[in-house]
Point group: C2
Amino acid sequence: MTEPLFLRALRREKTERPPVWFMRQAGRCLPEYRALREKHSFLEVCKTPELACEVTLQPIRRFGFDASIVFSDILVIPEALGQTLTFGKGMGPQLEPAVRDAEGLKALADFDPLDKLGYVMDACKAIVAELPADTPLIGFCGAPFTVACYMVEGKGSKHFIEVKRLMYAQPEVFQQLLDTLVEHSITYLKGQVDAGCRAVQIFDTWAGELSSDDLERFAVDPARRIIAGLRAAGVTVPAIYFARGCADSLDIVKQAGADCYGLDWRARITKAWDALGHDVAVQGNLDPAILHAPPDVIKQKTQAILDEVAGRPGHVFNLGHGIHPFTPVESVQAVLDTIRA
Amino acid sequence: MTEPLFLRALRREKTERPPVWFMRQAGRCLPEYRALREKHSFLEVCKTPELACEVTLQPIRRFGFDASIVFSDILVIPEALGQTLTFGKGMGPQLEPAVRDAEGLKALADFDPLDKLGYVMDACKAIVAELPADTPLIGFCGAPFTVACYMVEGKGSKHFIEVKRLMYAQPEVFQQLLDTLVEHSITYLKGQVDAGCRAVQIFDTWAGELSSDDLERFAVDPARRIIAGLRAAGVTVPAIYFARGCADSLDIVKQAGADCYGLDWRARITKAWDALGHDVAVQGNLDPAILHAPPDVIKQKTQAILDEVAGRPGHVFNLGHGIHPFTPVESVQAVLDTIRA
């Protein structure tokens, strides 16, 4: 049997067309997701394997994406470490109490991801049992720097002053926080792979907030240690590292040692691939805002990416960032039609 | 008499040290500014030349920066065009009604910047009369794309969906909005120069939100037309273009034809300068968040930039973005001490 398109592309095999999936494809734009969410909170869906399974499968049923990603959140690790995770209406996530010093770090629970986050592994198993055989499931976690941003700021941030203050004023405390997250992320991702995931992605949403001389130490190196840790633990599935806002520093980002790198919508895909080197795959990078444009613009922008890549093996088509809520369903279809044409 | 350090650096003359000023240096971190603001609203300060003059001079008195920038806001043009500008407590600026279509565009007033924004020119004259002779005053405006973002979104934005929707769905309306802003910005900047400003800066805070294939058309080209328009009108002072978040696309940014380019804190200064070419000056790029770090870290990070530039003529030291409110005054001093050492 042929391997799934997505996995072949991640191995940079020549494929008939690029595989396509969208970050945050589960939920966000689907009416069937919103209907389910009227009855269940976001965290309830994450923590109930049959609900997580259902919403993970919704976009696959509707669009037939070439890969599926387990419905969860990058902040389940901080929650399992003892921070209270809430999602206020119209606000981003909040974590309390924020970790601001050695004491805050010490107060974090000593936890076993396989135990506390067992609901994610259960969801993975349920999803894999239902997915078409040619649609691999992707497991994921937040990159340590990005997760640490939320843990230290206590919420999303515009200027990331608190996390940078801790990083510069108490580097050993910050490093210890990163180390903790590296360790748990390895166990957690391995757990997802053992539960059936055939690729993993590490989301480093805030890596681009770091100046380039801090990028390696605080963002890329922790991600590298996760990937190395997985390899050392015998996990061989492809690893994707998505460091947002780092198009100018891909030579640094590449030190993560991933098999594939996510590119945000501002990166120029062939320039970025040249910077990364052609011994890795790339994933991206349509601006999710373009999905609010008329279909002919969407098709043209999608085609422009396909033209630029020009069929080089190792391209996974994706958005350059998570899909926005209330994106028209027809827009998603317009992208898929263009890629499949 | 020798020309001021700042202007010599902008002309890439060899200088004894780089000149230094901070974006948003007026206000934000100064207790004397906060004291004045307890009695006067932000817009009141902008619109009252003696108050604008006072807060513009405060950081010069305290720190002796090598350049001064008139205290104003990039949104005074939309306000003069008829949108209501408000600054809610703890929120960014808001503009009502938002411009979302041809009708909204048509509703904008036909205005003469020299008349409606005369208070800025009056402030410039008052400031220049008080500034030390070796401290040039910088005039500024928002770049058309960035100002249009606020005008269309009606406020700051995370995903810029409305502005991109207009841009893609009604490109001729969006282009007309940009054209309007280009035209008024030329008159406005020329007015500031006539009132004594010896350099101008165009702030393109949101340019980095555009995918690279839209960057030239929607952000860089309007900025280029402002600079070309100034030149055509006989204005010869140096022009600085600060397109934030574009470190990977400086070859495109450079088409603005500025004398100097601002670099945000994520750009790698020598790599960026190589990309821009050495026939222009560069300005930047210390992460403003570093000003919340201990003094020894601030000194080390400042020195790292100086070392990287290695005395190449044409470097203006600045932050990579506006200074944060409540930045410790000692932190600003630590940067200045390092540069002046």
